[in-house]
């Protein structure tokens, strides 16, 4: 059972790392600032989600698991808010307001 949990953790955390790599690649390769924001906010959120999911079988207590999920939720919230703010600032600068 614990070998299965370990395998799950390995697969999920590796998948999460791959998505962080994708987010970084997008940041470097996408053509404009707004497209790069897409890459960062979406790929990294899923990457963090997979890592949290993968680590859940390894936590010793319910409190630890709740904490991991809360960290993921807060990161989602801040990523969505930050990308909104950056996109809005960029839009205002472009339209000269």
């Amino acid at each position: 059972m614990s070998a299965l949990a370990d395998l799950f953790t390995l697969v999920m955390v590796a998948g999460g790392a791959l998505l962080f790599l994708a987010g970084t690649l997008g940041l470097l390769r996408f053509p404009d600032t707004l497209s790069r924001l897409h890459a960062l906010s979406k790929a990294d959120n899923l990457g963090l989600g997979l890592i949290v999911l993968g680590l859940l079988p390894q936590v010793g207590s319910i409190a630890g698991g709740l904490k991991l999920v809360c960290v993921w939720l807060l990161a989602q919230l801040s990523a969505a808010t930050a990308s909104q703010l950056i996109a809005g600032a960029l839009h205002r600068r472009k339209s000269g307001r």
């Binding site: 390769r29 989600g49 990308s83």
Partner: protein
Amino acid sequence: MPENFTPRHVLLTRGAGFLALWLVLMGPALKDLPVGIVAAAAAAWTSAFLWPARGGLSFSGMLRFLVRFLPQSVAAGVDVARRAFAPVPPLQPGFVTYQTALPAGMARQACCAVMSLQPGKLPVAAEADGTLHIHCLDLREPVAEQLAADEAAFCETLQDGGRNG
């Protein structure tokens, strides 16, 4: 009574919620508790300015929303990853406009934040009349239908269906 007045029992419930969140994040050590209570009180006080007292959430709507949001969130990440790893990133970025029924304020901003986590879309600005300017990674996708579905799913999470800000 002013429009944005938040009753005391609502503030207390919110404060308890914030304290619970703080306890989950920081651990239930008795010597840390005063800091948590101060932080929860400050958060509840701030929420009075940001979240209208009548802006209740519908639990079943939230569940339906989550069932839709989580797979979409996965699709968004995979979509970006696919484009980022492609030899030539298949992108056709550009703007679309979308008319939202949500009034300006908390609900509209939250809806925009949710949309920004969905595949290929990033709201960048909102006009006073409810026109949203949305940046898309690929204009070849059926963006308008997706946006309408996103907004409908979001409105279901609000008890009043998004009629109040």
